[in-house]
């Protein structure tokens, strides 16, 4: 009970003090909109539907990784994070609550592109459960990557630099812009090591039906990624933050 009250309030505080702040909300709206606009300017309507899954994945990825990495590094540098480390709830619960906030923010980031999906593709062609699961899993893995970055960074700017260092290569290798089978042969194994590749594939499957892998496989791989990343974060936090 104690852990639940604590986790719920950590989540509530993060949403209220960070994620609901105007700059973050507008980021979640403007970023996907401007990307769409850019694409819409030089592609036909048919192409648009091909681009939307990528747009969803990208919005979620960007929103989630940077938010968690930055807010945690921020709380660490102001030392308020110590309060969470000192709270009588397990590290796993605390980390879970932190991640949950970022995941919700990530899902919110998918709202605008999903509205665009209505517009370009229409309601009835989309597999909603699959889309939701895809978005959720991308958000969870991205949040965990953000956390991993936060554990490695000392300062906010470092966290931002590190997140970009991870995100941009991921974007190019996950099959968003370039189809996986058009990537040079030596890069393809790298693609299959990125969680985003599987997330994008699920979302593609949900919207345009041209996924490369079986959805079950992608779900499984993403869950495995999430579990692995969670334990890696847990281990690293214990090692690096409890000196």
């Amino acid at each position: 009970m104690r852990s639940l009250i604590a986790s719920w309030n950590i989540l509530k505080k993060d949403v209220k003090t960070y994620y609901l702040k105007p700059p973050n909300i507008s980021w979640g709206i403007i970023f996907p909109l401007s990307w769409t606009l850019m694409q819409a300017l030089h592609s036909a309507k048919g192409n648009m539907s091909g681009l939307l899954p990528g747009l969803i994945a990208m919005s979620v990825l960007f929103g989630t990784t940077s938010m968690l990495a930055v807010t945690i590094t921020f709380e660490r540098s102001g030392r308020s994070f110590d309060r969470l480390l000192l709270a009588p709830i397990s590290l796993g619960m605390m980390v879970g609550a932190k991640i949950a906030g970022a995941v919700i923010f990530g899902i919110f980031n998918a709202v605008v592109p999903v509205i665009l999906v209505f517009h370009y593709i229409g309601l009835e062609r989309v597999k909603w459960a699959m889309l939701f699961l895809g978005v959720l899993l991308v958000a969870i893995t991205s949040a965990l990557i953000g956390l991993l970055i936060a554990v490695s960074a000392q300062q906010v700017f470092e966290a931002q630099t590190l997140s970009n260092f991870f995100r941009f290569p991921m974007l190019f290798l996950c099959g968003l812009f370039l189809p996986l089978n058009s990537l040079p042969l030596f890069l393809r194994p790298v693609s299959y090591l990125l969680p985003l590749t599987y997330g994008t594939d699920i979302i593609k499957g949900a919207i345009t039906r041209n996924n490369l892998m079986a959805p079950a496989l992608s779900y499984g791989v993403l869950l495995a990624f999430a579990t692995g990343l969670f334990f890696l974060c847990h281990y690293n936090i214990k090692r690096k933050w409890i000196l």
Partner: protein, 321 residues
Amino acid sequence: MIVASKLKKKYGDFTAVDGISFTVKQGEIFGFLGPNGAGKTSTINMMIGLSRPTEGEIIIDGIDVRRQTKKAQAIMGIVPDVSNLYNEMTGFENLCFCASLYGLPKKEREHKARQLLERFQLTGIEERPFKAYSKGMRRKLTIAAAIIHSPRVLFLDEPTAGIDIVSARQVRELVLGLKELGTTIFVTTHNIEEAERICDRLAFIANGKIVADGSVKELMDQVSHRQAMQVVTDANVGGLIGGLQARFEGSIIEQIDDRSMLLKSRNQIPLLPLVEYLSRHGISVYEAKYVRPSLEDVFISLTGSEKPLISRNKGKGGQKP
């Protein structure tokens, strides 16, 4: 209540805390006194589970902090050396949030937060964000946040550092009040007067080692045989220090300022010869008073360090809170 044995903390090759042992009894205020860099914060961090001891163990209320960190943390209140609440949140929100971390239900959190704001004289500003608080207010709110879940053991790391006399006094009164309620309190400070005023027992730490511990009285007994006298004159005594030192053998004479000095000796210092000596040199004595030895003298005699822990601008008269 708290038993620390052979605690050691190394950062790389550097030993910040060097195998210290001490016990804190149920319901007492235990002071941990030492100069900057002595290892006070390092020790507290090990006790609260924010850092891992390199060696040694800590038992709090029968709980092994290393093994059952979370269980131990549930009965602890912690005031860290920096006031680390959330800048964007208001005073009231901060208190409620901290209470929620210890599992207090909503009604109770809000009730207690209001109670504490009142007790700490912070009503009226509870809706301001923490970042808009003054240093003294921040400190008080940080303490309030640490006790909102009614901890059995309270750790305070330099609770009065950097705040004014009035706020510091309020903080001390609050700490004494908590003791009345039965809370066991561990407080670090580099302010000797403060330790003297509020602590039941003390440990002096220097370079990671405890150089003495005991009740204030026990520690004072070590220096009670020392005498000190402060003398105020009408002219500069600077040129006479050497002569006086020779005349009053075994005494140490320090010039405090142009017209006053401090004589310290193991023996009684006779007043008349001193006045005579000075008047022969054309100096009259306006005031001479015995100064009772202080804990600072204990610390200096133990560590051999002449560097005072805090700068004093007044005599060492005993003041009470």
